[in-house]
């Protein structure tokens, strides 16, 4: 698993997660995701477009971070690119209706700070 981030100006943080968000993968990055999403930025973009696998535990970690960001007045969105398996996991659980998802980083960044 791999997680990294880039701060873009004062308002936006972009987080990238690679690998498999199955049980071991989620356990290895969930704490870091929570910390990175807690940054005092208005917008948080999480790029999951290159994930190889997104299970319920990974979705739960994304959801918890999005809820925490919203509670402090920010907005978290996802970049899914053309990753059909990630989109399927998010749609099957209805999480696509709770965390906005976008195909491109540019669209996601605009929405996160809007």
């Amino acid at each position: 698993m791999f997680i990294s981030h880039t701060d873009v100006g004062d308002n936006l943080r972009e987080i990238v997660i690679l690998g498999r968000l199955d049980i071991p993968g989620t356990e290895s990055v969930a704490g870091e995701l929570e910390k990175l999403a807690a940054a005092p930025k208005k917008g948080i973009v999480v790029d999951v477009s290159s994930l190889k696998f997104l299970a319920s535990m990974g979705i739960r970690a994304l959801l918890k971070s999005a809820m925490a960001v919203q509670e402090r007045g920010g907005r978290m969105v996802l970049v899914v690119g053309t990753n059909s398996s990630v989109v399927m996991s998010l749609e099957a659980t209805g999480v696509n209706n709770l965390i906005p998802m976008f195909k491109s980083n540019a669209e996601a960044a605009r929405a996160a700070v809007a």
Binding site: R20, D22, I23, P24, E27, F53, A55, S56, M57, I59, R60, L63, K64, A66, M67, Q70, S85, M88, S89, A92, T93, G94, V95, N97, L98, I99
Partner: protein
């Protein structure tokens, strides 16, 4: 031979312990086994996800009995000339649980009212063309499968 159409049936089995690393091993095993049998990629991906969620449920909710004994997984691939079906059976010694009878969760409409649990069953349902369950010999026997081509 049945009605002049040859059906190929292939079976493989695996036993794992109830842990996250073992569940990953089962995912990799399933994916390899299905690909070796030319199961189409969308069905492989779906069955891998469904198996992960079934095993994660056993690990999270099966209790100490589930963790004390191996979980047995069996896959069966049946193919005809242009159609096929892959079946996955999971047998565990955990607390009785029938995923086919579990109530559907009402999806939250907003992030504020969302609860971050109960996401596994919708994935299993989405990724399976059918499911069946029975409790027998003190064990859960859960089966699910995917067919192709999709109509």
């Amino acid at each position: 031979m049945h009605n002049g159409i040859h059906t190929v049936k292939q079976v493989e089995t695996l036993a794992i312990a109830a842990s996250g690393d073992e569940i990953r091993r089962a995912s990799e095993w399933l994916t390899t086994a299905l690909r070796q049998r030319d199961v189409p990629d969308p069905q492989v991906a779906c069955l891998e996800l469904a198996l992960h969620e079934v095993l994660a449920n056993v690990l999270a909710h099966g209790g100490s009995a589930a963790r004390a004994e191996p979980i047995h997984i069996r896959i069966e691939v049946r193919k005809k000339a242009t159609t096929g079906e892959a079946r996955v059976k999971v047998r565990d010694a955990g607390i009785p649980f029938d995923p086919t009878g579990a109530p559907e969760r009402t999806p939250a409409k907003t992030l504020a009212e969302a609860e971050p649990g109960g996401l596994g069953l919708p994935l299993i349902r989405r990724c399976s063309d059918w499911m069946s369950y029975r409790r027998e010999g003190g064990r859960n026997h859960f089966m699910f499968g995917a067919r192709w081509p999709k109509l």
